[in-house]
């Protein structure tokens, strides 16, 4: 596709519809609204179909006409097309009929859905000619920027709150990136990065690359639809930090319907946040259309600990427009959610996944999710990154001598 003309027209302000060229910018100069990629769907329609998609390799770039890059994919060619797993035992446990797990905890290369957004952002950064990429992150984005930059030969700086889980920190430093820990909340890291971005000529994936970066999340939605057999589910439960992913899941479904790839279907899109950092869910529960930011998030779910979510407003809209709801399980429910997912579906998720399961459980119990309808849980990051959440929560391994007798005694005690 190198020489073909781009299928996206440019950027458009989500608030006032002012249009901009597809440059490394993210904010409308007129009203500060976020900029969104605008596509030429008429030009795209003849180029994409179920057959064309299915003829391509199993990665997110099988939907490349709907992703905002101009030339070939140069970073993250193997990202995506993670398993969609039918979880019958977990379904029975939760008392529902049809439950699916979209398992981005095994996304390539860094075991979270962030590989999707980074693949787009870094490919785009190279198209713009940047040699240094950066991000503010609650952990997963930093891991992905570090790994993908290393593979692509780009310099990188990742900025994180200094109190992140050791696994998340190591998961960045191993790639030889510059890890900068900031003594403060994620929102303070973000603010600093916005100022750094004003001084240094870098591609900040979540700042000046944001319109492109955010589109990468749509691939998770396309895959869900394709893997369900070109159908949209009745319910999706999505974890929210800044609130971008949930809005892009909706956009992906809408685009597939618009292009005739799937039939229109009313999917209820639900959001999940942890209790002590749930500005978006709280607004939904209170029927408000804007959230009140959380100053000092205090939760084991550090990946979702964003108190001032940039897409909070649109996330609320997404849930309201689709007949979705929001839930905010507490830390204990998050741990229970991690364990349910592991013990009943064989999937080890990080705390964000426990939040999704905990939220889904609450909504099923409250009758907000009809147990006879199909449900997809978006599991977005791997459990080995947040091991400390389970510290002291699991039975310690049995320790015995290398003796058959001892084992027989132990076995008898366990099965009596």
């Amino acid at each position: 596709m190198k020489d073909s003309k781009p299928l996206f027209k440019g950027l458009i302000c989500k608030e006032c519809s002012a249009r901009y060229n597809p440059e490394p910018i993210h904010v409308c100069e007129q009203c500060f609204g976020p900029l969104e990629v605008e596509y030429d769907y008429e030009a795209i329609a003849p180029l994409i179909s179920r057959d064309i998609i299915q003829s391509r390799a199993p990665n997110m770039w099988r939907y490349r006409e709907l992703l905002p890059i101009q030339g070939d994919v140069t970073v993250g060619e193997h990202v995506g097309f993670t398993p969609l797993v039918k979880a019958d035992r977990l379904a029975a446990k939760l008392g529902v009929r049809e439950l699916w797990i979209k398992n981005d905890s095994v996304n390539y290369p860094t075991l979270s859905f962030k590989d999707r957004v980074v693949s787009v952002a870094l490919t785009r950064a190279k198209e713009f000619g940047y040699d240094t990429v950066a991000c503010a992150s609650t952990g997963n984005l930093a891991n992905s920027v570090a790994a993908n930059a290393a593979a692509a030969g780009l310099n990188s700086f990742v900025f994180i709150p200094s109190d992140l889980e050791p696994g998340k920190v190591l998961g960045s430093s191993v790639y030889g990136t510059n890890v900068i820990g900031i003594e403060g909340t994620y929102d303070q890291v973000n603010r600093l990065c916005s100022e750094i971005g004003g001084r240094f000529p870098w591609a900040f994936v979540n700042i000046n690359m944001r319109p492109y970066y955010a589109e990468g999340s749509k691939a998770m939605g396309y895959e869900i639809a394709e893997q369900l057999g070109w159908k949209l589910p009745d319910h999706v439960v999505v974890p929210m930090a800044g609130g971008s992913l949930i809005t892009k899941i909706k956009k992906s479904f809408d685009e597939f319907v618009k292009l005739g790839i799937v039939d229109a279907h009313p999917t209820h899109i639900h959001g999940a946040q942890p209790e002590n950092c749930s500005p978006i869910v709280t607004a939904v529960k209170e029927g408000k259309d804007f959230f009140r930011p959380v100053e000092k998030p205090n939760t084991i779910v550090k990946s979702l600990a964003i108190g001032n979510p940039a897409d909070g407003f649109y996330s609320i809209q997404t849930m309201n427009e689709t007949g979705g709801y929001g839930e905010n399980p507490n830390d204990d429910e998050v741990v229970e959610g991690i364990r349910l997912l592991a013990e009943y579906a064989g999937v080890f998720s990080e705390t964000a996944g426990g939040t999704v399961v905990g939220a889904a459980k609450r909504m099923i119990e409250a009758g907000r999710i009809n147990p006879d309808e199909s449900i997809v849980l978006c599991i977005t990051g791997h459990g080995l990154k947040t091991k400390e959440a389970l510290e002291g929560k699991l039975p310690p391994p049995a320790a015995i001598k290398p003796s058959l007798k001892e084992f027989e005694a132990l076995y008898a005690a366990r099965t009596h």
């Binding site: 608030e15 910018i25 993210h26 904010v27 409308c28 100069e29 007129q30 009203c31 500060f32 609204g33 976020p34 962030k114 991000c135 503010a136 992150s137 609650t138 997963n140 984005l141 994620y186 929102d187 303070q188 973000n190 603010r191 990065c193 916005s194 100022e195 971005g197 004003g198 979540n206 700042i207 944001r210 970066y213 955010a214 930090a241 800044g242 971008s244 804007f290 009140r292 930011p293 100053e295 990946s303 979702l304 964003i306 001032n308 940039a310 897409d311 407003f313």
Partner: protein, 91 residues
Amino acid sequence: MSIQVRIPTPLRGLTENKDVVDAEGATVNELIENLQTRYPGLKERICDDKGELRRFVNVYINDEDIRFKDGKDTAVKDGDEISIIPAIAGG
């Protein structure tokens, strides 16, 4: 009394490309009015028709979000540093 205000990239077209400008006032509101007289057009960029801050504009006084204080009525004093920052995604 003079207070330093950091100007984000999207507004620098109005401030002769300066990333830090001086302004006067006793509250955030007064600062914005004062900036408007120095750099006409700046107020409507960050405030809506009713004069309220637009929903994607964050204002900080010495690192603290004014929404955790008294919003636009938050008092400012000599030596304070004000930042105007667009909402940022991430995660």
